[in-house]
């Protein structure tokens, strides 16, 4: 279970990494923390000819706030984000960062890698879709900014072009009355979630003026549950309204049968997670401190 041989390049700058990826072509992969890529290489799901190590690139791990927006560098690890003041300031970010896999994986895995892997079980694309974030990219033809919603296009496929790297993500600081929660369920800490759900609501009392809901491990890509959002938007939150939204989210999911469970099981899980996510978001909007994250047995 070890990787096939490859050439190794350690880039000193983003420009150098992009140039080398382009020069080598299809056989090259960018290596950041390696918590997705190295697992694939060891199982030989992928046999790249070359790895371009971007893990040491300077200036890509900062977490900053400016003009009402949060910006996180692509090489910020899950652990770094989980320990940042941001994780307490915006609890939904802490839910996600501190719940991904386990302590060891969070030491190495990066937010940029979680996006670039295009894996529907990775958590950051789901969280960033929930927060309506932007993904900042840099490639051979310059920089561009893409919405997190739709960034993962298909199983293991993103909107990144060859030689293009994620350099960071940014999102608006949630406004007054806006609160969210990221909840997932998995069999054990190191496992990918069986299902996960991000919920961000804007509330005035129990009146919901805005809602965003995204689902992870619920299909071949991140799924935005727009029908579920519509069930909440403009309504007063109550058990009936929340149940309708949860049912709409479960219906929007396209889960596949695998060792983590049957589609029916995953839909019922999503139903329950949406209810929990809405409830936690509602309590947080009232100013309560609620600790949630991925749950496991």
């Amino acid at each position: 279970m070890y990787p096939a041989p490859f050439r190794y390049h350690r880039a000193a700058t983003v420009e150098e990494a992009i140039a080398r990826l382009v020069e080598i072509g299809e056989g090259a992969r960018a290596l950041a923390g390696g918590q997705t890529l190295l697992v694939w290489l060891k199982m030989r799901f992928d046999e790249p000819t070359d790895l371009v190590d971007i893990g040491r690139l300077p200036g890509l791990r900062d977490i900053e706030q400016e003009a009402g927006r949060v910006r996180i560098g692509a090489l910020a690890t899950h652990a770094r984000i989980a320990r940042a003041p941001l994780a307490r300031q915006i609890p939904i970010v802490g839910d996600c960062a501190s719940g991904i896999a386990d302590n060891q994986v969070r030491s190495r895995g990066t937010i940029g890698g979680s996006l670039a892997a295009g894996d529907p079980s990775c958590d950051w694309p789901v969280l960033l879709t929930t927060l309506d974030a932007e993904v900042h990219c840099r490639g051979p033809s310059g920089t561009r900014t893409l919405p997190a919603d739709g960034f993962v296009q298909d199983l293991y496929a993103t909107r990144l072009e060859h030689g293009e790297l994620v350099t960071g993500v940014s999102f608006a600081l949630p406004g007054k009355g806006s609160a969210g929660a990221y909840v997932g369920f998995k069999r054990c800490a190191p496992a990918f979630p069986t299902s996960s759900v991000g919920v961000q609501l804007t509330l005035n009392g129990d009146d919901c003026t805005e809602a965003r809901i995204a689902l992870g491990s619920a299909g071949l890509t991140t799924i935005r549950a727009k029908a579920a959002e519509a069930e909440l938007r403009g309504r007063t939150l109550g058990a009936g309204v929340i149940a309708k939204a949860a049912a709409a989210a479960a219906a929007a999911a396209e889960p596949v049968a695998d060792q983590r469970g049957s589609p029916a099981f995953k839909r019922s899980l999503i139903d329950a997670l949406v209810k929990r996510g809405v409830e936690v978001a509602r309590r947080r909007a009232r100013g309560e401190t609620v600790e949630v994250s991925h749950e496991y047995y």
Partner: protein, 165 residues
């Protein structure tokens, strides 16, 4: 840009348990292989090989990592602590003593990884409650103890370390 040819080797330098080592390694060499097969530090175990079990946990620059999911070249320049680096001058580390006294192991296969995760936990939080201890070893699987005695051992070690024992 430093680069290698396929099958070629690259020079790296790592400090393991305080000793500096310079090696020419194949880029695909995993950190756990460097530790076990090259440096002959076989206390770090390979369990599942798929980033689940945590038997291969070591501390790299202060952070716990699964050394089966890190390339040796990624550790170039790093300070690494393995289970062999816990005992000092023939004296067991308080964590090792507590695992022994609390029967925190049966077959022992997961133990080096458990010790290193516990070490990382106590470095950040010298006085964890039981829930925090459980979270601290969430990335380490044990197939025999049922975890209770491992948690008791880490709790006891934390108390001993706070008292400077």
């Amino acid at each position: 840009m430093s680069t290698t040819e396929a099958g070629g080797r690259i020079a790296i330098e790592v400090t393991v348990n305080g000793t500096r080592h310079r090696r020419e390694v194949e880029p695909r060499l995993l950190l756990v292989q460097l530790l076990r097969e090259d440096l002959r530090l076989t206390g770090t175990h390979i369990g599942c090989d798929t980033t689940y079990c945590g038997a291969c946990t070591v501390i790299v620059d202060g952070e716990p990592v699964k050394s089966c999911t890190m390339l040796a070249v990624q550790a170039d320049g790093a300070e690494i602590l393995t289970v062999e680096g816990l005992a000092r001058d023939g004296e067991l580390h308080p964590l090792q003593r507590a695992f022994s006294e609390n029967h925190g192991l049966q077959c022992g296969y997961c133990t080096p990884g458990m010790l290193m995760s516990a070490h990382a936990l106590l470095a950040r939080n010298p006085d964890p409650d039981r829930k925090q201890i459980r979270k601290g070893i969430q990335g380490n699987l044990c197939r025999c103890t049922g975890y209770h005695n491992i948690i008791a051992a880490i709790d006891a070690a934390a108390a001993a370390m706070r008292e400077g024992k």
